[in-house]
Amino acid sequence: MRLRLLAALFGAALVSTAIACEHGEALDASKMPENVRADYEVFAHKCSKCHSLARPLTANITDDEQWVLYVNRMRRQPGSGISPQDQEAILRFLRYYAADLRRIQAEKNGGAPVPAHQNQSVPVLTPATPAPPAPAPPASAVDGGAT
C-alpha cells in the first residue's frame, strides 16, 4: 500500500516536472526592456537569498510607497547583502513591476491604464534626489501569472 502511494506520488511529481519546463518561479528577463534587465538581476539575486522570488512577485503590491517600506525591511535583515545601491536597483525594478500590475488591474476593471509615473511620490533613501521614473512596460513585459 505504502509503495503504491509512493509510486503515485512519484508519478504526480514527474508530471509536475514536465509542467515545470514551461512554468518557472522567476520572470522572463528577455521580455523586459533592456534598461530594466540589470535591475531585475539584482532583484532576483538579492531577494532569493532568504526566500523564494514568489514572495515579492505574488505579493500583489501596486503601491510604490509600500514597496519602499517592504524593501527597507528586507535590506535590514541580517546578512541580506542589500546595499543602499542595490536597494535603488531593486526598487526601480519593483516600480516597473507595480506599474505593470496596475495596468493589468486597470484593464481587468475596464478602465484606462494607469501611467507608471503616477504613483512615485516616495523617495527611496535620499529625499533630496527624486527617484528616476520607471520605464513604461510593454503589454507583454511582465508575465500575466503575477496577478
Binding site: H51, E65, G145
Partner: protein, 392 residues
Amino acid sequence: MRSARFFLVALATFLFALAALIALATPASAIERNFAGSAQLDYHFVPTVRSAKAFPSTFDGFTMEFAGKLAVDFSERVSANMKVCYGCHGFEADMMYFDIRVADELNFRIGRFSPSFGAFNLRHDPANHRLSDKPLPYDMGRMLRMRQWNMSVLPSPFPDNGLEIDGTKWLGPSVQLDYAAYAVTGFKSDVRPLDIDFKLSRSPQAYYVDDNARPTFGGRMALTFKLGEASDLTLGASGMYGTYDPNNDQSYLIVGADATLRVDKTTIRAEYLGRRTELSTADRTLFKYVVADERGDFTMKHGAYFEVEHGLTSELDLIGRVDGMYRVGNVEAASELSRRSSVFRYTLGTAYAIERGLRIKFSTELWEFSDRDALTGRKLELSMHTALAGSF
C-alpha cells in the same frame, strides 16, 4: 545578582523609552500591511523498516505545516510582525513583536521572536529551504530516533519572549556588518533535569511564564562581503547562555559558527553548532554509566552540516547535503545511546518550481548511526521525502 538585574531592567526600559520617543517623533504615513504565508505537505517514507512502530517517535508518513504572517509598517521607524504557524505541536505564535528603529544601526525588537542565532534561522520556513527537512543541528521532528537523541542541538524555529537589540551597517560599498544582542526567557525543564525539555519549552500552557525568572542572554555577529555582482560571502558567529531549570542550577551554553558562499546560481553553506548542557546528578541511579566525580555533570552535543545547492535551470534546483551530530556524556539508564554517539546523514534532493510559489521537493537520505536500533539491530537507515511546498 539582584542589583545587576535591576540595572539591566532599568537600562532596557530607558533605551526602549528613548527609542519610542525617537520613533514616535517621526510622522507616520499611511499604515502599510503585508500578508504572506506558506505551507508544506511532506510524505516521509522509511523503507528500511516494515512497520512504523519501529520508530514510534518518528513522523513516518504525512506531515503538514503551514504559517501565516502579517507585517505592518506603521512608519519607516515602527513596524509589527505577527506569524502564526501550525506544525508538529499544534498552533504556535512564531512571531509577535514590534520593531522600533532609531536608525539602521540600532533597532529594538520587543515581543515574541526567534532570537538571532546561526544562518539557518532566517530560512527555517519550509518554503524557504529547498529540502523537505532541516539540517540535523536544527532538526525538530523529522529526524530518525529523535527521542533517543532528544532532538537536535537547537531545534528550529525557537521563538521566545524578550528583547533584542540589533542593527546593520555597511562598512564601505562591499562589507555589511550585522549584530544582535538579546535577553529572552530561555529553555525550560523540570527540577533536577538530565537535559533541556524542548516540549515543555514550547508548551502553549506556559507561553508567557519563565520557569526560573532568569533570562538567557545571547548574541550574533556576522560580516557579509560582496564579492561581485552575483556573489557574496557571509561569515557569522553566535552564542547563547542561560539556565533552564526552575532552581537555576543547570546551565546551557550554545555556540555556533557559519559560512555561506553564493556564486551565481550556486550556494554553499557550512555551519557548526555545539551545546554544553549541565545535568543534575542528584540521583545517580538514573544513569546508564557511573557518574564521574569530575566532568560528569554535563553533556556536549555537536552538530554540523555542509550543503551545496545549485540551480540547474530557473525551475530546477539540485541539493546535496552532509550533516551529523556527535554527543558525548552520560545518558539515561534506558537510553539506546552510548557515552559517545554519532549520527551522519547523506542527502541528495531536487526541488522543482511547478508554478510561481509552488515547489515539489524530492530527497533521499542515508542515515548512519553509531548505535544499533534496539528493535531492528540496524545501524544504517534509508528514508525518502516527497513534498509540496508553497508560499505567497
